[in-house]
């Protein structure tokens, strides 16, 4: 893979021009090399424009408004729901619930579906690579209801130990909740296969798609996801909006989560009746402008093409991985070469992850340091913190070169 090969997949250099933040300098004279898209992506001008245009000309509260502006706002909001539904292959727009972020989406399922369907002794199967967002809500439920948690182990390479799955499924879990892509290792478990086996065992399947949806083509039917949680801000959209996809039958059978306006059909002083899905789960004024801008982000991603994005990042992973592994004293958390995205977490002999990140920042390179909200995975690998470099389709191979060079500099400083 040479540098010029990348541009045959996707013209990152041209696309970058759409992202104002990528034009900025970290400090005067030091261009920004943004390698933290796993935490949050940068936003193309098209998305920022969609936000601004909404507020400038279509801003009103949605639903029940009869006047022109309110009808336009409602139409824009519902159009965004349709775009998201089509983007992930949902059977209908009503299966898309707008929430704040992937975290809230998982919590919604834990509170509304979990508390209605899980009882003491019931089993939930998770994995050792889960983000806290797909772990803590289930721990809270376990503590409250006596539900049991078991974990698909992670192999030394960072992959899921699929051999352990049948044994766990034999215990007839009610729910299997698994990440579509680790935000630490970049590993993309074979969710479709997990879902197939889990369904055969009678379990409901929740996929944490916070990383998968921004980085690979996703079709909920092919994936076999009963629930899919993801965040707008990691896929070019604004903060403040995320998505819970749920199969209609499941959503309909669930009690509501938050109470308030819009989620009701009628209200008396001492009782209420719930509205239809998805409104049942959207209490109060939703993130209207944010949903509309997420629709613009989906348009952008589809214009670039999710297949191309995925291929580009595969190429990037193949390019970066061996170069990182050549750095003496650098240890990767997750060395898998198959089914992985371009996310690399590593630690270095004698240099703490914080110091790595700080030195890289000196060279304009933005990477994250810490446990990346996946502390159990770090504990498993025996390190409290790693530095993480993550690439999106707008990153260039030259930026990877820059990262590698800076890592050698860091070694010099600490030599």
């Amino acid at each position: 893979m040479t540098v010029s090969d990348f541009s045959r997949i996707l013209d990152a250099r041209r696309l970058r021009a759409d992202f104002p933040a990528l034009q900025r300098a970290t400090r005067p004279g030091v261009p920004l090399v943004y390698l933290d898209s796993t935490a949050t992506s940068q936003k193309p001008q098209q998305v920022v424009d969609a936000l601004a245009a909404f507020y400038r000309s279509r801003n009103a509260n949605v639903h029940r408004g009869i006047y022109t502006l309110a009808e336009e706002a409602t139409a824009a909001y519902e159009e965004a729901r349709q775009k998201v539904a089509a983007f992930i292959g949902a059977a209908e727009a009503a299966e898309i619930v707008f929430v704040r972020n992937a975290t809230e989406a998982v919590n919604l399922v834990a509170y509304a579906w979990g508390r209605a369907n899980l009882h003491a002794g019931d089993l939930i199967v998770l994995t050792e690579m889960e983000h806290h967002a797909n772990l803590v809500p289930w721990q809270m439920l376990a503590a409250e209801r006596g539900v049991r948690l078991e974990f698909i182990p992670v192999t030394p390479e960072g992959a899921l130990d699929m051999a352990a799955l049948p044994g766990l499924l034999a215990q007839e879990p009610k729910l299997v909740a698994v990440s579509g892509m680790s935000n630490v290792t970049g590993v993309q478990p074979d969710v479709a296969e997990i879902a197939r086996q889990a369904h055969a065992a009678g379990a409901v399947v929740l996929v944490d798609g916070a990383q998968l949806v921004p980085h690979a083509p996703v079709d909920v039917q092919a994936l076999g996801a009963d629930f899919l949680a993801f965040s707008g801000h990691k896929m070019l959209g604004p903060t403040g909006v995320g998505v819970l996809y749920g199969r209609r039958a499941l959503l309909e059978a669930m009690p509501p989560f938050l109470g308030g306006g819009d989620m009701i059909r009628w209200v008396k002083l001492r009782s209420f009746d719930v509205n239809d899905v998805p409104y049942k789960f959207e209490a109060g004024t939703p993130p209207i402008a944010e949903a509309v801008a997420l629709g613009a982000a989906v348009d952008y991603l589809q214009h670039v093409g999710m297949e191309a994005i995925h291929a580009y990042e595969q190429a990037m992973a193949a390019y970066v991985l061996p170069r990182l592994q050549e750095v003496p004293g650098l240890h990767l958390l997750g060395t898998a070469t198959e089914r992985r995205g371009a996310v690399f977490s590593f630690w270095m002999d004698d240099i703490h992850a914080h110091d790595v990140a700080q030195i890289l920042d000196h060279y304009g390179i933005a990477v994250r340091a810490g446990h990346h909200c996946a502390q159990p995975l770090h504990t498993k690998f025996g390190v409290p913190a790693t530095a993480r470099a993550s690439f999106y389709f707008y990153n260039l191979p030259e930026e990877a070169d820059h990262l590698i060079a800076a890592l050698y500099k860091a070694k010099e400083v600490f030599a």
């Binding site: 240099i351 703490h352 992850a353 914080h354 110091d355 700080q358 030195i359 000196h362 340091a369 810490g370 446990h371 502390q375 390190v383 409290p384 913190a385 400083v413 600490f414």
Partner: protein
């Protein structure tokens, strides 16, 4: 590397003078920074005249958290406890001579947090007198 990785900080990180343990100490405390895994253990020996006779730290973490502990202990040994108790966050940052963002601030100030814990006799999980 100017600023954060000035020789001064790096020297204290690479060749700390106060890393280790005391045979005999009056106060001990430890704490950590779970976000990043920085950990610091500190032992103080208080002389009968109320000064800090000696001190040591041990731990692991980033250059900043460890160097800051060494620099801090170097500064307080020999000083009256009452004076040390008044030592502030800003005093430490002056001593380090660098400006820091919020995350690194936590690293740099862990040493002060542990020192205060020891001086005010807080109970640290896992720390035994």
């Amino acid at each position: 590397m100017e600023d954060l990785y000035r020789e001064y900080i790096l020297d204290h990180y690479k060749s700390p003078k106060f890393r280790g343990h005391l045979d005999d100490y009056t106060l001990v405390y430890e704490d950590d920074n779970p976000t990043c895994g920085d950990h610091l253990h500190m032992e103080l020996k208080i002389a009968p005249d109320g000064t800090v006779a000696d001190a040591r730290f041990d731990g692991m973490g980033c250059a900043l958290s460890q160097a800051s502990a060494d620099i801090l202990l170097e500064h307080i040994v020999g000083k009256p406890v009452e004076e040390v108790k008044a030592f502030s966050k800003d005093d430490l940052l002056n001593l380090l001579g660098i400006s820091l963002g919020p995350v690194r601030l936590k690293c740099a100030l862990l040493s002060l947090k542990v020192l205060k814990g020891a001086l005010y006799g807080l109970n640290a999980e896992g720390a035994q007198k």
